[in-house]
């Protein structure tokens, strides 16, 4: 069976702070990493391949430097990688990103399963999975925490949501987003690292996948970020003075007040 895993590159640190003086954004590092949730999707895809046979393709949209992360995925058992990279895709919101990814998927030909992490840690939207499934016209299940069985026709999966544990059967091809309970991702193997250096990697531009510039990137993005700001202070804060014991006692007094 053919499995596609979607990967996003995210900043390695979420510690983005505004410098109060220069108003510039202070970053701890510019190094990018694979979105942590996507690591579970990679692992699950590789495990399915090991059990049921087949091949795993990693797919991403991003800047050319994303190749490094796709090769990292190859060192963890992914067979080949495809990167959609083009200025036409720049400024994509979730709708335009899903559009680009759907073109990438179509370019790859028939598949059985697409796996995604349940969300990315920078945007936290969790929208790409369902939007991509819709654009491909296939069913989707979000936050899967177990894949119980897979045949050519269907997958049986388990998810925990809104207070219930549900077991569902899904017709394939389908898209699943996986939660972090699903597995424990492996580390790269020596053989994997060797493979990743020369493993098949393809870079595709907007024209290669036949992207309509009106639907891609900024032009194809209905939403617009109009303002970013650090939140304003809302409350007067009293700093408790005194020795540590006095401070601790003061908090316990507050506690008694609330209890009353």
């Amino acid at each position: 069976m053919k499995i596609i895993v979607c990967i996003k590159q995210v900043p390695s640190s979420n510690e983005v702070r505004l410098d109060p003086v220069t108003k510039t954004i202070v970053r701890d590092g510019k190094q990018s990493v694979i979105n942590p949730f996507d690591a579970y999707a990679i692992e699950e895809a590789v495990r399915l391949k090991e059990t049921c046979g087949g091949a795993v393709t990693a797919l991403s949209m991003g800047i050319p430097a994303t190749e490094r992360l796709l090769r990292d995925a190859m060192s963890r058992g992914v067979d080949e990688a495809v990167l959609l990279s083009d200025r036409v895709f720049a400024g994509s919101d979730t709708l335009a990103t899903s559009y680009a990814l759907s073109l990438g998927v179509r370019k790859l030909g028939p598949f059985s399963l697409i796996l995604c992490g349940k969300m990315a840690v920078d945007g936290d939207t969790a929208q790409i999975g369902p939007e991509l499934a819709e654009m491909l016209g296939i069913p989707h299940v979000t936050e899967v925490n177990r894949i119980l069985s897979v045949t050519e026709e269907e997958a049986v999966v388990e998810k925990q949501a809104d207070g219930f544990l549900e077991t569902l059967s899904v017709k394939l091809p389908a898209l699943l987003t996986v939660s972090k309970d699903i597995n424990m991702p492996r580390l790269p193997s020596i053989a994997g690292i060797r493979y990743s250096e020369k493993g098949p990697f393809r870079l595709l531009g907007a024209a290669d996948v036949g992207a309509d510039p009106e639907r891609a990137g900024l032009s194809g993005s209905p939403t617009q970020v109009v303002k970013t700001e650090t939140p304003r202070r809302e409350q007067e804060c009293t700093y408790l003075e005194g020795t540590q014991a006095e401070q601790a006692a003061a908090v316990l007094d507050l506690l008694r007040e609330v209890r009353r």
Partner: protein, 390 residues
């Protein structure tokens, strides 16, 4: 022409934009900034340029003005309204009054899902419903088909969903089918005075910034709204409204339920009266036992910030914040939490916050009533000693 524009007359080549860019997309060449192919049009440079030399240009289309009214999705849990629906109606009512339009609820469910009267008492002027046994289970594809039909027929300008597990799965599917914009997990909603657009506010960049997002041209403007943030609507049985049935459309049934077991009702930290919340400042995993001991001594529940869950120190149901649980205790004792915006969003309804942190400028203090500058582990030990040895 769509893209990043750098005004060479305004640019002084200070390089702040190049330092800010997370993608390495800006370079200073001959004392002027230039963008290369790495540019993702994220807009960070636009905000930081002190000389307003950078802008992102985009050709704007006109919105279709036949889309009116504010809608909320009346998600059901069994045959009852999910708690977040009251909050959506509360927020939706305000938006509708401001815009001078109607508030409507979209109700989908099985044969016994009669909730129209309740929705009207909670502020809906109109209820659109589709009831069928085929819709008794909440499934994305059937619900998307029904909602698409409702939207095309009755044209909402704004459509709000609860950011429940189902809402966050259904809303993007519908947004993609309607080819419109969707903002995830909003914590603030308002109407722009000059043009009536929906201003959607949500934490961004891992929670360190608040982003305001608009959907200027496509309709409806869609958003999922974080449960537990908006004040719920109050019922008034004297209200009246219109009810309209929408016929069952065709849809594929590619997902079948095999089993559905209620999870044991975990005591949720959302309902805690007193909550102790631990952050990275507790230093090591073993110190978590001090936190739980203190919490049990004072009869409190305990929660934690996201890094502790990501690091495997603490279970997800204890996570407080945007991607965890929104809490509303009378007293929240925050220990070694720096206070990323996403975390602050999750504790915004706490009555009184007392925070302990070594950094006197930690953002957590900006929402705290009382601050203790110090090592939370030492304070914890002090508390445990005081409580045990009195």
């Amino acid at each position: 022409m769509t893209g990043l524009r750098i005004d060479r007359n305004q640019c002084v080549g200070c390089g702040i934009c190049a330092k800010t860019c997370a993608f390495g997309a800006l370079e200073i060449k001959e004392k002027k900034a230039e963008a290369n192919d790495n540019c993702a049009l994220c807009g960070m440079c636009v905000d930081v340029c002190p000389f307003q030399a950078i802008s992102i240009e985009k050709e704007e289309q006109q919105a279709d003005r036949t889309y009116r009214d504010v809608w909320v999705f009346a998600e059901l849990t069994g045959d009852r309204l999910a708690p977040v629906v009251r909050e959506l109606l509360g927020a939706g009512r305000k938006l509708a009054d401001q815009k001078g339009c109607r508030l409507a609820a979209a109700l989908i469910g099985g044969g016994n899902a009669f909730r129209e009267a309740e929705l009207i008492s909670l502020g809906a002027d109109v209820v659109y419903f589709c009831r069928d046994e085929k819709l008794a289970d909440k499934r994305e594809e059937p619900y998307t088909a029904v909602l698409k039909q409702m939207v095309e027929r009755y044209r909402p300008e704004i459509f709000l969903f609860g950011a429940t597990a189902f809402g966050r799965s259904l809303a993007p599917r519908l947004a993609a089918r309607l080819q419109t914009g969707l903002t995830a997990d909003c914590t603030g909603l308002s109407v722009e005075e000059e043009n009536g657009l929906l201003r959607q506010t949500r934490p961004a960049f891992g929670g360190n910034l608040m982003a305001t997002i608009l959907c200027p041209a496509r309709r409806p403007q869609m958003a999922t709204v974080r449960p537990g943030v908006m004040p719920p609507a109050q019922a008034d049985t004297g209200r009246s409204g219109i009810v309209r049935e929408v016929p069952l459309p065709e849809f594929p049934e590619r997902i079948k339920g095999i089993k559905r077991v209620p999870l044991p009702p975990a005591k949720s930290i959302a309902d805690a009266e007193i909550l102790v919340v631990a952050g990275r400042g507790i230093g090591s995993r073993k110190n978590l036992s001090l936190v739980t001991e203190f919490a049990s001594l004072i009869g409190a529940e305990y929660g934690c910030s996201r890094p502790l869950v990501d690091g495997g120190w603490c279970e997800y149901p204890h996570q407080v914040g945007q991607t965890g649980c929104s809490v509303a205790p009378k007293l929240l004792i925050s220990l070694g939490v720096s206070g990323a915006i996403q975390h602050l969003a999750g504790i915004s309804r706490a009555e009184t916050i007392v925070a302990v942190n070594t950094d006197p400028h930690a953002p957590i203090f900006s929402v705290s009533r009382y601050a203790v500058v110090g090592d939370c582990v030492e304070i914890l030990k002090e508390w445990i000693r005081m409580l045990k040895c009195r």
